[in-house]
Amino acid sequence: MGQRIAWLVFKRLLIAITTIFFVAPIILIFLTSIKSRVDALAFPPVWIFQPTFMNFEEIFGLYDFGHYFRNSLVAASTSTIFAMALGVPAAYSLARYKFRGHSNLAFWILSIRITPPIAAMIPVFILFRNLRLLDSIPGLVLIYCTFNLPFVVWMMRGFFEDLPIDLEESAMVDGCSRFGAFTRVALVLAAPGLASTAILTFLFTWNEFIFALVLTGTTARTMPVAVQLFMRETGILWGHMTAAAVIMMLPTVVLTFFIQRYLVRGLTFGAIK
């Protein structure tokens, strides 16, 4: 009996340590972001302090952080919309029509996702330079849309394949066109999958760094690049740094709670449902 209780306590302890290891750094960043400059630089760190939103006010006021925030938001949401608009019908087509070369095409689409971004970066940079798309939001949207397309197609194909085809067939018997069966039946039934795919696409783009680093300058710079540059320039201003980090993390943390159910599927490319 005593042994069993000891084992139980040991496991609870491990659970606690695990949770602290993964969550504490995030909480620490949040706490530092609401500390005053003096408190943020104290060593040993102070745990009881007067919270302040000064850091948040300052990064928007002093450094034009709103500009980068807007860029990130526009680039991420616009490219998500385009990727969904292009990718969802393609996914439906791959799920419902078994034409010749169908699986080759699907595999090719997937392989794009596996390519290291730095390899894609070199030709894309040259292409953008010739098209004068460097440091522009439309350019960024275009490239994000392209590199999110494989994800959207692959995810949505899985969701469409999960739907019984009978419902679409009966809709067509009732006089729905093939396209109508897609928009009025399949899309409606796949709504949860649609939403989680869109959210994940948005988050990938929101977090994306390499493309933004290489393809943007001051005009179209997104938050991850801005935050990183900011760190190199100001180094010691941890209050500002952490405030910027908190703003970047906020949408991710909130949206993660919404898409929990489809997280595994999304992160494994539908390999595990």
């Binding site: 439906y92 970066m121 977090n207």
Partner: protein, 310 residues
């Protein structure tokens, strides 16, 4: 039902048969073509372009410089005289090997631990998954803060235990382990998340039967849980290996490859040739070698995935 009725009414106003015939055959094509077109023009075409580029010399920084076909020269230089290529390969392989191994072992442990019933399990499971959802740039920033010599939490913990402060990211020996720990922090939850889902989907019956037969915990894990979650485990290993090998952002933020070249992974090295020295041909050659290595690794993993199942 009402919506179907409206649809029927609308459809009957058009020449039904012809439209449907046309739609039936063209629908898949119409739906696929835009996507394929975008992917060909912005992904397939650029990749072939850079394959061609890898056999050329082109300094983008020099406005007057033009392409010059040099054949295999870039590849020969990389393999024979480049002093930083092999060290980068070694750094990348070490980084990938260590982080993936630790992530898989830790992730498996965490998945088992968090699969048991306890109060607040749902919330804790979501909380430990958070690191993998945040941007690697932010993860890098978090760990730069943790490792900060004067204010960092890591040194504070050491200080509490009576040790001296260490400049974790600034020293040759500690930079690599420090970067690895940051990556392990961010991606162990990924493995754990996948395995938790796999464990949750396991059927109860074999475990009940094993319990009746007197199997102990280890035996149940070794002969039931492990074989049954093996496919999920292999998917996790495959994805993590690919992602770990192409890591860029986390290391860019933490050390920029330094001190010296101690944390310079292949992605970072390629980036330097492309966007610091603007040698597009050379960088393309490096990036193709990277793709080649990834394909080899992926095939090895897939080989093991298939073999043991039969």
């Amino acid at each position: 039902m009402t919506s179907t009725t409206t649809v029927t009414a609308q459809r009957q106003q058009r020449p039904l048969l012809r439209t449907r015939f046309w739609m039936h055959w063209s629908a898949p094509a119409i739906m696929l073509i835009p996507t394929v077109a975008v992917l060909v023009s912005l992904s397939l075409f650029p990749m072939f372009y850079s394959l061609w580029l890898s056999f050329n010399e082109w300094n983008l920084g020099d406005r007057t410089a033009t392409w010059r076909f040099v054949g295999l020269k870039n590849f020969i230089t990389i393999f024979t005289t480049d002093p930083f290529f092999w060290p980068s390969v070694r750094v990348s392989v070490t980084f990938t090997g260590v982080t993936v191994a630790v992530q898989v072992l830790l992730g498996l442990g965490i998945a088992l631990l968090f699969s048991e019933e306890f109060r607040g399990r749902g919330l804790l499971r979501t909380l430990i998954v958070l690191p993998l959802m945040i941007s690697p740039v932010v993860a890098g920033l978090i760990w730069r803060f943790m490792y900060n010599t004067d204010l960092g939490m890591v040194n504070y913990l050491l200080y509490l235990m009576g040790f001296d402060k260490v400049d974790w990211l600034g020293r040759q020996i500690s930079a690599m382990p420090a970067v690895m720990l940051a990556d392990i922090w961010q991606w162990t939850p990924f493995v754990a998340l996948i395995l938790m889902a796999a464990i949750q989907a396991l059927p109860d019956e074999p475990f009940e039967a094993a319990l009746i037969d007197g199997a102990n915990r280890w035996q149940m894990f070794r002969y039931l849980t492990l074989p049954m979650i093996r496919p999920a485990l292999m998917v996790a290993i495959l994805i993590r290996t690919m992602d770990s090998f192409k890591i860029f952002d986390l290391i860019y933020v933490l050390t920029l490859g330094g001190p010296g070249v101690s944390t310079q992974v292949l992605g970072l090295y390629t980036y330097k040739w492309g966007f610091k020295f603007f040698q597009m041909g050379y960088a393309s050659a490096l990036s193709y070698l990277m793709i080649f290595m990834m394909v080899v690794f992926a095939n090895i993993i897939v080989f093991f995935m298939r073999r043991r199942v039969d």
